[in-house]
Subunit: 230 residues, 2 copies
DNA sequence: ACAAAAGTGTTTTCTATACACCCATGG
DNA sequence: CCATGGGTGTATAGAAAACACTTTTGT
């Protein structure tokens, strides 16, 4: 169909971000409480209208920083939701993004209105505005899918971490037990981890060696599209 | 950011479709010659502006039928392109789709202006309008990716086909030789093919048995998210 | 009879999985 | 000294890969 001025549509464009964080066996997602109608005071994914002179990714980053102050470590496009009736204000199409943050960025900054932005465990979610429940569901599927074919973890863990953190991350995300020895073998064979001299002991038990991701190797693997069966 | 009337943006929304077809060792993509400026007479992906009261997928189907008459066998969302400056008319965000057609739908219908819609081998592409070269590149990567983890083929081959067609499809898409015996073993183990009584002989050589996809089994595998290493 | 494409099994190698005990520390 | 979590190796089974000759037809 050819475009003429009279046909200029009234479709509005928004972005929404599903941002995941991980800490000690818990996957959390960042939500904000809505200030305005519709769905005033309901929890929703951070996001908002795209400005005419900003890229989509800039829009997400801006909204995230305005609404939550959280610094994103990894961001990719998730899916575009455009069904009629998904927004009571009219026709609103939303480009959703998928983000990950490290635990140290987990704390909501001072600039954040703590009553407005909050981390929720994905196991105990409040009722969400718009079709955000659906968006979140797809994001969780993406997260679980990604982890089985990409050496994710770099984006969710601190710079230095005990191996058990990585293991726990996988058991949490995949929601099943994994054999520690076999898991370590597989990770080791990828050569993405550097073992550090340092150790930490958390509570009782033998202290754990710290590891860090070998960034060079890690991003090389990602580029090669490593298949990483867990 | 809160939305007020004065901020109502002037972002336009389009859809574009990358439709692939396959015939005798060749992957083709469906392009249309543009009727209007900008890029008048240049080849472009079929697509156009989304109407206010149609879903995104409806918009793609409508544009495809208007511009090419081609009947799509499979359609999924690919990616949303929204960079500033990707369209000289202003801010235009495009939701792109990825489609597959069977060879029998390959013929452009009578309703189609044959000089306007045309199949191009992905190895001999013309210069494309807008950022469609980039969109096509991403679609080709998706196609190659999909084939290694989903038993694709159903959507690209005729109802009945000789096994060699499936094999050739894979060698073409993956752009490398595959061992016929190992390949057959793998496909057979999935139990997605039914061997028919019928045979065809094309030119000289021993006639080939025809196969068809066992739809039930095929879609069951897809739902289970089969991992299918080739 | 020969060229061209279809069809078919076995062996070897690699990878995934199953499995249990010792080590270092804090309380 | 004991409870807690960290760390490590081997054996088996299953999957992937390598590999070549026979069959059926058209010309």
């Amino acid at each position: 169909m050819h475009f003429t001025h009279s046909m200029r549509n009234k479709i509005q464009l928004t972005v929404d971000a599903v941002v995941f964080g991980y800490e000690s066996g818990n996957i959390s997602v960042l939500l904000v409480k809505r200030k305005y109608e519709p769905y005033k005071n309901a929890w929703a994914l951070p996001g908002g209208f795209v400005l005419e002179k900003e890229n989509l990714e800039e829009a997400v980053q801006r909204e995230l920083s305005e609404e939550t102050g959280v610094k994103i470590n990894y961001l990719e496009q998730l899916y575009t939701f455009g069904d009629l009736g998904r927004d009571p204000r009219g026709r609103v199409v939303s480009v959703s993004y998928f983000g990950l943050v490290k635990p140290n960025a987990f704390e909501l900054t001072a600039s954040t209105d703590a009553t407005r932005a909050k981390w929720f465990s994905i196991k105990k979610l409040p009722r969400l505005a718009f079709d955000h429940k659906k968006i979140l569901k797809i994001a969780i599927e993406r997260l679980q899918g990604k982890i089985t074919y990409e050496p994710i973890g770099f984006e969710l863990l601190d710079k230095k971490f005990p191996f058990s953190d990585l293991e726990k991350l996988y058991t949490t995300l995949l929601d099943r037990e994994i054999d520690r020895r076999n898991f370590k073998k597989k990770i080791t064979s990828l050569k993405v981890l550097d073992e550090l001299e340092e150790k930490v002991s958390i509570g009782r038990g033998r202290p754990a060696s710290l590891f860090s991701f070998n960034e060079k190797r890690y991003f090389q693997l990602k580029k090669e599209g490593i298949i990483f069966e867990i």
